[in-house]
């Protein structure tokens, strides 16, 4: 298995792609391609996606998680991603940070969900060390008991991916597109989205400040090499790679509405 090392040999190399307003469906396609076809380490940071969208995990059931009639009426895109985890509404106030690493990239880190989650939490704790009450709670990043970042992962034989959608800011009206999920962390205590979630903008001066802090924390573990987004998206797709992230069709959304009606 290939392991990328910095020229000075001290820290492993990680490619950093830093961008803004990259559509989330395109970002997820890129992430899945890099996870399955690259042998290098990557960090992708996207400060805000262009339009609002709903992003479901690989096993999410539309009728359980999404107010499909409202989504159809308002023509909100619904994406099913390749990683696990729950459903989020994303938009221009969402900051996306994704790590895609070889299994041995982080010394001593076992490529299983909990160790990876703990490692990323320590990385963000360092980045937010002067922000009160940051912690990892039942796989969510929280300030106190309010969630500001949702996580999901995809782990293959030789690599792992961990991505987070951070709520820099959000339109509370978009939460009406989401149902209360059947599987929720205990600390949520049945709170509505508005009482459970917390925007980051009240704790930091700007979204770029958060990104800068995160990059500084990553540099404790990796030697970063800046890569332009175009250089990655323009590279040809590897042979034999089948993409699973997809945009749900109007027919699929309507079928979900009909199934709810029949029940």
């Amino acid at each position: 298995m290939a392991v990328s090392h910095a020229k000075n040999g001290s820290l492993p190399l990680m490619n950093l792609v830093r961008t803004t307003a990259f559509p989330i469906i395109n970002q997820l396609h890129l992430e899945e391609k890099l996870l399955r076809t690259s042998s290098e380490n990557w960090c992708i940071i996207n400060d805000g996606t262009v339009d609002s969208a709903i992003v479901m995990g690989v096993s999410g059931k539309l009728s359980d998680l999404v107010e499909t009639r409202s989504v159809l009426r308002d023509r909100i895109p619904v994406v099913r991603r390749f990683s696990g985890g729950g459903t989020v509404v994303v938009g221009k106030g969402t900051i996306f940070v994704t790590f895609i690493c070889n299994k041995d990239a982080v010394p001593g880190l076992q490529p299983y969900p909990c160790p990876i989650m703990s490692w990323t939490a320590r990385l963000y704790a360092k980045a937010l060390h002067d922000v009160v009450d940051f912690s990892l709670r039942e796989n969510d990043y929280v300030f106190g008991d309010r969630k500001f970042g949702g996580n999901a992962q995809s782990i293959t034989r030789a690599r792992w991916l961990h991505h987070t959608s951070f709520l820099w800011d959000y339109d509370a009206r978009n939460m009406r597109y989401l149902k209360h999920p059947p599987r929720a962390p205990k600390y949520r205590s049945s709170r509505r989205h508005e009482e459970f979630l917390c925007p980051m903008k009240g704790f930091l001066s700007s979204s770029s400040d958060f990104v800068d802090r995160t990059v500084a924390s990553i540099e404790d573990h990796f030697s970063l090499r800046q890569v332009e987004l175009g250089a990655v998206t323009d590279s040809p797709a590897a042979a034999g790679y089948t993409q699973s992230t997809k945009l749900l069709t109007e027919e699929e959304l309507k079928a979900s509405v009909e199934s709810e009606t029949e029940v």
Binding site: S59, S83, G84, Q110, Y112, P113, A152
Partner: protein, 166 residues
């Protein structure tokens, strides 16, 4: 197209025994250094899948060590019967703790059956990894591949070394 299996979560059952040769698949309680059960009569891959060969048809699943490290399994996605699989290739994935983790075949051949019980009860992977939590059955195209897999003692050493290194 891969078969999509829906499920509800179950509590994670931590297996802590090591079976002896000839013992039933519910061995008596005993401590082992790695605190996961490793059964005699099976072969193991370094990526924590187990194989039981029965006349050229191999049953495959993930080990107790793997299910313990993954956490509560809430969803299992398996390649449809009839598909070919090669040693080392993924035959599906499990979801746990917000993560999808690929499961890789230790052997090559044709998938002749998948465990449909995992559709409604994916937690069987946690509670019964070596029996009710089996995943696929493969008609072997090259039985000699079994020779390169780990025996129970070597697999136990592998697990202990892996955990000690992290």
């Amino acid at each position: 197209m891969a078969m999509r299996l829906w499920a509800s979560s179950m509590a994670n059952a931590l297996g802590v025994s090591r079976a002896v040769a000839g013992a039933p698949l519910h061995p008596p309680f005993a401590f082992s250094r790695c605190f996961s059960s490793v059964l005699e009569g099976l072969k193991y891959s370094a990526s924590h899948e187990w194989v039981k060969n029965d006349g050229g048809v191999a049953t495959v699943g993930i080990t107790d060590h793997a299910q313990d490290h993954l956490g509560d399994v809430v969803f299992v996605d398996l390649t449809d019967p009839g598909a070919a699989v090669s040693k080392g290739d993924s035959f599906g994935s499990v979801e746990s703790v917000k993560a999808t983790s690929s499961v890789d075949s230790p052997v090559s051949g044709e998938i002749v059956e998948i465990n449909t019980k995992l559709k409604e009860t994916p937690g069987l992977v946690n509670s019964s990894p070596y029996e009710d939590g089996w995943m696929i059955k493969v008609k072997l195209s090259d039985p000699s591949e079994l020779d390169s897999l780990l025996d129970p003692a070597k697999y136990t050493e592998h697990c202990e070394a892996e955990d000690a290194a992290h």
